[in-house]
């Protein structure tokens, strides 16, 4: 059913007219210009600067229901001591663990998916859109709620987390299949576990049936968002921008197009940084999202090589059984 309708739609695409705006025709005056090679590549502003350029009056979107505000605050990750950033495992526990890994030849790349994707990367996704009433916002949350004027709601937070989940999952797909799949699974499992807990603890929803209903709804939204972002990534900027408009801007007809552009720059720059990381660095949880007030500049070949050398140096002394990995350090 889906295939028939999309085929019909694709027949009607006015491809020729599109070329008028994406024309690659070079005018005679600039064709053989000897100054061409001395021209500096155009620099673009950071996503926050781009969005702040615009002064279009904001028309608040009429949401059907008033967002429910959190009444309490759950721990950011969990109460478990192992997820405390200051936690340090005692030496004897570490020694037993290392021997265990060595004895049973445990595939550490598989085991690492839990703490890296299910904790570090989950924290990264959650942090970006997190807000609590009367608490200061992080830089990225400011970008989403104050600069782009997105509504502060639980569903909006979920959409922001999904966008970050998708960016990470694009990179995870580029890992060897069995590891990438495992990383994606751990991350999405933890996202939904956290949603379930927060709906009960922070939003005070006491009925499990209602929570389950919301989770199913959010799962459908996740599938739809990932499909449209993937379509945008594989097609062009305007398709990705439309996907961002539908999912993050809630299809707001009065949207500031400059804001969509700023968000697209944010997404594209994160994907660029992700593509320049080696599998090993990414697999060990070294990636952090670049704040939207920072500008990402494309790398030269020598800078890329420098980064690879740096990564190799960083991992060369990792000899412990728990630090073993088959993930590539070259790409």
């Amino acid at each position: 059913m889906l295939n028939i309708s999309t085929r019909q739609v694709s027949r009607g695409i006015p491809r020729l007219s599109r070329r008028l705006v994406t024309s690659k025709v070079v005018t005679f005056e600039t064709k053989n210009s000897i100054l061409e090679k001395y021209k500096k590549p155009e620099e673009i502003e950071s996503p926050s600067q781009l969005a702040e350029d615009s002064s279009l009056p904001i028309i608040e979107q009429n949401l059907k229901t008033k967002p429910r505000l959190p009444t309490s605050k759950s721990p950011f990750l969990s109460d478990h001591s192992i997820e405390n950033p200051d936690y340090e495992m005692s030496a004897w526990k570490q020694a037993i663990g290392q021997q265990f890994i060595k004895l049973f030849q445990i595939d550490m790349d598989k085991s690492r998916a839990g703490p890296v994707a299910g904790s570090i990367y989950f924290g990264e996704c959650k942090r970006q859109g997190l807000y609590y009433p009367d608490e200061p916002l992080s830089d990225t949350a400011k970008f989403f709620y104050e600069t782009l004027h997105l509504p502060q709601s639980f569903s909006q937070q979920f959409q922001i987390s999904v966008l970050h989940y998708w960016m990470l999952s694009v990179r995870m797909r580029a890992l060897p299949f069995k590891y990438g799949k495992n990383y994606q699974q751990k991350l999405v499992d933890r996202l939904f576990k956290d949603m379930e807990l927060r709906m009960a603890q922070e939003l005070n929803i006491s009925s499990n049936r209602i929570i389950e209903g919301y989770l199913k709804e959010y799962h459908t939204q996740l599938l739809g968002s990932v499909l449209s972002y993937d379509e945008g990534l594989a097609s062009d900027d305007i398709t990705l921008a439309s996907a961002l408009w539908r999912n993050l801007f809630n299809g707001n007809p009065n949207v500031d197009i400059r804001h969509i552009e700023a968000l697209l720059v944010y997404v594209r720059s994160q994907l660029y940084v992700l593509s320049k990381m080696t599998d090993r660095e990414f697999g060990f949880g070294k990636f952090k999202f670049v704040p939207p007030n920072k500008n990402v500049k494309p790398l030269t070949k020598s800078q890329e090589q420098e980064l690879i050398e740096k990564a190799k140096k960083e991992f060369q002394d990792n000899d412990l059984p728990s630090q073993r990995s088959v993930l590539s350090l070259d790409e």
Partner: protein, 112 residues
């Protein structure tokens, strides 16, 4: 006003070059924005600088400025974990290929 009218015309012609969405989403960016920039009241209220920025932003998006600026290589677009992922997805969305029951079962069982 005439510059604003010109800008609105340029925005509408840019929007008209966009292909129709391949899937039936709940709302179409092209249709909604075309309607917005045809609205006389909206065009009267908006400042010229703001309208110019809307045009510039839309033009950059349509011209794939950022896709070309942050160029991604095959590392992400043909991921080694699943090299045909995007071509298969786009093929299905465009209706160029049809997922058979066997393909679907294979994806569910093996994950790719």
């Amino acid at each position: 006003m005439s510059t604003k009218k010109e800008l609105a015309t340029q925005i509408r012609s840019l929007l008209n070059t966009l292909p129709k969405e391949r899937l039936n989403y709940y709302s179409s960016f092209k249709d909604v924005q075309l309607e917005r920039f045809e609205n006389e009241k909206f065009l009267q209220d908006i400042g010229e600088r703001d309208l110019k920025l809307q045009y510039d932003a839309l033009r950059d998006l349509v011209n794939d400025k950022y896709r070309n600026y942050y160029k991604l290589d095959d590392k992400l677009l043909k991921p080694k974990g699943n090299p045909d992922y995007y071509s298969r997805l786009l093929g299905n969305i465009k209706g160029e290929r049809k997922e058979t029951l066997f393909d679907a079962a294979r994806t569910v069982i093996f994950g790719k």
